[in-house]
Symmetry: C2
Subunit: 345 residues, 2 copies
């Protein structure tokens, strides 16, 4: 690989001059500029970014630390990050924590080893010790979706999303809603749940079960669904909604004729499900751009106060929701109270 020294020799100047020409850090006469340019081209010179990074302390690389690449939401986020980073001339170093806090910590340390200028991070678990203790001393961090105290953060307005769903379902005439909320410890799940309940509660009580983000339904969730006495299911996210639709269909129920189902996120295939899924869209492209912007701003001014950006969400009405069928349900209504956990307060 041709180095700057080679270019300098070829052009008959010092390496300093080559550097100045290539970076424009100092004015160089037209003649020498031309000679240097020509030499660089002739030798196929390409600057060694490692060396440059060593000297300047800037790698032009951003770390992306995600909890799970198997989750389409995070993948979509990555997809949104990529163009924003490129626009800023940065390249992404991606680390998949595979939902494992130990792996996440390893990734964090690896990135702290001077490999990246900053990190865009969706923590596996905001309550894990290494998150609070922030074992990464002085590496700028922007969190997305799962904000960590004292970091810049980008989050969607989950509360508003929950509210939109509540209003949509209430508007259609639903009043017996089963709620499959996501992991209790996640701010996103909590926000969606709160928004939904606050906007829906005046109408009717709600049966609820906590579940993961997988399309595999928990035993508790299945019991709740088997119990009947609901005319709509509000799911933790689109993957869960997909699992629910499948489960209901297999049991001979029709979505949306017998039961309406809603998800959250609007992943790519939500519109391809049968029926197409009504859900809440998070503005991923904007969130990715915001995260990159926040990180660059902090790189420019490390002392800046941390900021939290809340992005608006949008209801996407599709075929999985419809007015409830007012004919009584096949199941008995009396046994319902035993199933599912009671809504606490």
């Amino acid at each position: 690989m041709a180095s700057m020294k080679d270019v300098a020799r070829e052009a008959g100047v010092s390496v300093a001059t080559v550097s100045h020409v290539l970076r424009g850090t100092k004015h160089v006469s037209a003649e020498l500029t031309e000679r240097v340019r020509a030499a660089a081209l002739a030798l196929g010179y390409v600057p060694n970014l490692q060396a440059s990074a060593l000297r300047t302390g800037r790698t032009q690389t951003l770390g992306v630390l995600l909890p799970d690449l198997a989750n389409p939401f995070f993948v979509a986020l990555l997809h949104a990050l990529a163009p924003a980073a490129r626009a800023a001339g940065k390249v992404l170093m991606v680390y998949d924590a595979e939902n494992d806090a130990a792996l996440e910590l390893a990734g964090l340390q690896r990135m702290a080893a001077g490999q990246v200028d900053g990190i865009i991070w969706v923590p596996v678990d905001v309550d894990a010790p290494h998150v609070a203790g922030r074992s990464t001393p002085e590496l700028p961090v922007v969190t997305i979706d799962r904000p960590v105290p004292d970091t810049d953060a980008v989050v969607a307005d989950h509360v508003a999303g929950g509210r939109l769903l509540a209003e949509h379902l209430a508007g259609l005439g639903h009043n017996r809603v089963a709620l499959l909320s996501g992991p209790e410890e996640l701010p996103s799940s909590r926000g969606r749940r709160r928004g939904f309940i606050e906007a829906f509660a005046p109408l009717t009580p709600v049966w609820e079960s906590h579940t993961g983000f997988s399309h595999e339904l928990s035993a508790e969730a299945r019991a709740l669904l088997d119990g009947g006495n609901y005319d709509a299911v509000v799911c933790a996210n689109d993957m869960v909604a997909s699992g629910v639709m499948r489960y209901l269909t297999e049991r001979g129920l029709s979505v949306p004729n017998d039961v309406s189902v809603v998800g959250f996120d609007d992943v790519a295939w939500a519109s391809l499900m049968q029926p197409a899924l009504t859900t809440v869209r998070q503005p991923l492209a904007a969130m990715g751009a915001a995260a990159v912007r926040l990180l660059l701003e902090r790189l420019g001014d490390p002392q800046r106060a941390t900021r939290r950006v809340v992005m608006p969400v949008e209801l996407v009405e599709r075929g999985s929701t419809a007015p409830p069928d007012l004919v009584t349900w096949p199941g008995e209504a009396t046994e319902m109270a035993l199933l599912g956990r009671e809504e606490r307060n």
Copy 2:
């Protein structure tokens, strides 16, 4: 950030000794080893990988250059690559070419700038000039799915996959098959098509249209589907299959009762579709591991002859295929010959 010099001072030894202790490159007395370890721990020392890379010429980073992060297949591939890379102590630098050859070239150059030890690459277009000319002089490359001459490559056995589908459909009794093959220039599409036709041709002719990999169907594809006279649709991949199932369903046809549909790849949500999709699974985890292994082998021995690894595929039978309904089709059979392109030999 504490550097090696700091550790050396703290432990009262030279930086060389610190390096030897930390890397185990030379034997150091138990006492000093202990002192160095303690000092490193106390100062929270973490080696600067940039400096290390500059000196040794090894970054411990692998580049991953993908054509499109919006395509779930490539995302799944990335997901398969991540654990394999980690197991080898490497971290991944991911670049999304967004199906744009110019962007791909930019990514290639960026990675050639000493940022990675080697590249795992799925080219946007194997016929693009920068692919053949390989504008990346001496950077080890492993291609996946779209092999480039004179590189190590990992590919699934697409021909066998096509054959499996043909045998499956023929076994069910289908003999009027519409073929929506993928982009003609891609080796994967060509292989699937060839395998299918070779195994199916003895039975019956095939109507065919070339299409992209998107769930948005081309006008030609829609015309073919509208034409009728088929009892099964063989799709370029799962995304296309999903679009086809939706299109057919909207037109009142039932899958698999009226028409069987098959895809290719077995992406994550293939099993969640209604009906669940019969498809061919590519062994992604194994392919990712193979790619990393090939790349590491080449790093170890740059002179080694290039190798191509062909991975076995597997038919996954699900609900989207069934024996054909022998009742005659609603459409007329006579007008069919006009629609779709004739099978060219």
